[in-house]
């Protein structure tokens, strides 16, 4: 992926206009990003991103492969820390508190900003343990019955309870792909985060499982702020209120989803959503 990005960045293509168009600010922002740059060693992977993430909103990040949308997403819960040579600069704050500094403790941050990955990655433990692990390490349950309640509620909210309530002690890896992904969502919301990051959560799933997850995202919006990276423009149009279009490490355009898809301001956005490249 990074290799591809590198080769496309070398091309003298669309170099002319690189500042974001559209309204990148939000009236009621939960996360505020200003001048965010990400470097992988020498490579400038994400350049000068300014964007707000609104409260109880779903914001979709779209763009061609290797455009830096996943890299940017991983800045929001500091998962880029785990990659050697990766450097993130700029100001990112959540509810007015800076989260990008080296002095910030990532453990409470990641408890507040949960993440669902591209490939379903349940722990190779029981279904119950998968959901109970987060509350347990953070000490959210004071006794076993509390924990059971959290697990049940999380599985219910993830729409998985009816399917797994009789097989909680069985391994989570034995579920189908769509069920596994909903288990991962249940695991994330069990910690009761404020923001959920989703990195192409449906890319490994069939259309029926995808529809279930999309419906779930819509329901979760009432409680959480959601940032979703997706390759499917239909999905972005269906689930999000705002959409941000990335290209070659730049944030090209951001705005209300309806407006971005029906009346894009930037030529690149139009070409991408009409399928002329990407």
């Amino acid at each position: 992926m990074t290799k591809l990005e590198n080769s496309t960045m070398e091309r003298p293509f669309h170099r002319e206009h690189r500042s974001t168009v559209g309204t990148f600010t939000s009236d009621n922002p939960r996360i505020v990003c200003r001048s965010v740059d990400v470097y992988y060693g020498e490579k400038h992977a994400v350049q000068n991103i300014n964007i707000d993430v609104g409260r109880h909103q779903v914001i979709a990040l779209i763009g061609p492969s290797g455009c830096g949308k996943s890299t940017f997403l991983r800045c929001l819960n500091r998962m880029n820390d785990t990659i050697p040579d990766c450097r993130v600069t700029g100001d990112i704050s959540m509810d007015g508190i800076a989260i990008n500094g080296p002095e910030v403790d990532v453990v409470p941050l990641r408890a507040q900003v949960g993440m669902v990955f591209q490939k379903p990655n349940p722990f190779p433990k029981s279904i119950f343990e998968n959901v109970a692990y987060g509350p347990r390490i953070h000490g959210l349950a004071s006794n076993p019955s509390d924990l059971e309640e959290i697990v049940e509620n999380s599985l219910r909210r993830a729409g998985l309870w009816e399917e797994v309530k009789d097989r909680l002690p069985q391994p989570g890896t034995g579920l189908s792909g769509g069920q596994q992904q909903r288990l991962c969502i249940a695991r994330t919301i069990a910690v009761n985060p404020e923001v959920i990051l989703m990195d192409e959560p449906c890319s490994a799933l069939d259309p029926i499982a995808t529809a279930k997850i999309e419906q779930l995202i819509d329901e979760l919006r009432a409680l959480y702020t959601i940032v979703i990276v997706t390759h499917s423009m239909q999905q972005a149009a269906r689930v999000s209120q705002r959409t941000a279009f990335f290209h070659l490490g730049h944030l090209i355009e951001v705005g209300e989803t309806a407006q971005v898809f029906t009346n894009p301001q930037h030529q690149l956005t139009e070409e991408y959503i009409t399928g002329r490249f990407g």
């Binding site: 990641r110 692990y133 910690v191």
Partner: protein, 433 residues
Amino acid sequence: MSDSSHQPLSRGHTHDIVMAGLAKRRSAEKRFRLFGLASIVAGLIFLLVLFVSIIGNGYSAFTYSNVALDITFDQAVIDPEGHRNPGTLAAADYDTLWKASLEKLFPDVTGRQQKRALNAFMGFSADKRLKDMVIGDPSLIGTTKTIWLPVDDTIDMLIKGKLGKEEELNERHLLDQAWIKTLQDQNRIRSSFNREFFTNGDSREPEAAGIWGAVTGSALTLLITIGLSLPIGIAAAIYLEEFAPRNRWTDLIEVNINNLAAVPSIVFGLLGLAVFINFFGLPRSSPLVGGLVLTLMTLPVIIIAARSALKSVPPSVREAALGIGASPVQMVFDHVLPLAVPGIMTGAIIGTARALGESAPLLMIGMVAFIVDIPKTFTSAATVLPVQIYLWADSPERAFNERTSAAIMVLLAFLMIMNGFAVYVRRRYERRW
């Protein structure tokens, strides 16, 4: 590429090409399978030869010949003063008792040479058995009883037919053979389980030499080795793999760990001698020092195996754990380590099996000494199974020959029990996922 060079192939054409090469592919496949099968068969044959030769040589050491003698516990010999003082009882000449009994059985033995031969029919073990009986039950004194007593080790060899065919025996052995025949005709000779072999320590007398001292020494040494190398090795592997920054220092450490794994084991023995015994003044020949030396030798193997096991845990598991806010330590101990346990156990098996079979470094720290007592603590003098095998293989007495093979069998059994335990642990963790 021009269009003319890229003519579309008809379906039939492709099919012909594939079919033409198919025989070659098939024969290559068959050849490879044959090679594989042949190497497995060769391996099995070697294993079979090894087992047959060791077991064939050593199984007879598990039994020992006893002779039934009518022993008169003569008060005048054992306790002339009649005080039943344990000191007196222990110091008495018990050989007089069985010698008298033998003389009664063979009244026609008169010559000095022949008498000496008859007096060597039994040995040290017979004395000890009589002494233990009398001390255990002093009321025996004054009675006469038929008692099974172990014969001398040369006689045992003769009975087992291990001194060669009749025509190869010397005059002395022929004499012994005749007596054995007489005793056998009277049903006075039987062979029984050789308990002494499993309960005694080493001895210069093969009949009294046992493996238990070496087994205990090996167990104590391995306890130290496993107790130190497993936690230290796994901790080092986890730190290097999960926490240490990648820089010149960690590269240097990695290279040196790989080098250490290839260092000849005797070098570790020299190091142990210089550091643990000469510098720190730890007791020589002790399982403590032996265990420390073997720990140094085993550590690189365990670290390398544990690191590769940790490396093979899928990154998605780490991301999942970190993603819900697990600290790095929680990630490692709750998720990564359990998945790496099977791989780590494999490394631990290889490392400790090598440590168990190692003798060279232990020679350097004095575990080659002749030690009769069963070691009781980590600091008492001890030897280990491979060194015991080496010592016995070096001894001239014929009876040590079968004991050497028997000791090898004990070592192999020890190894199998240990490996069986490690395999059990590995399976248990593998089944969980």
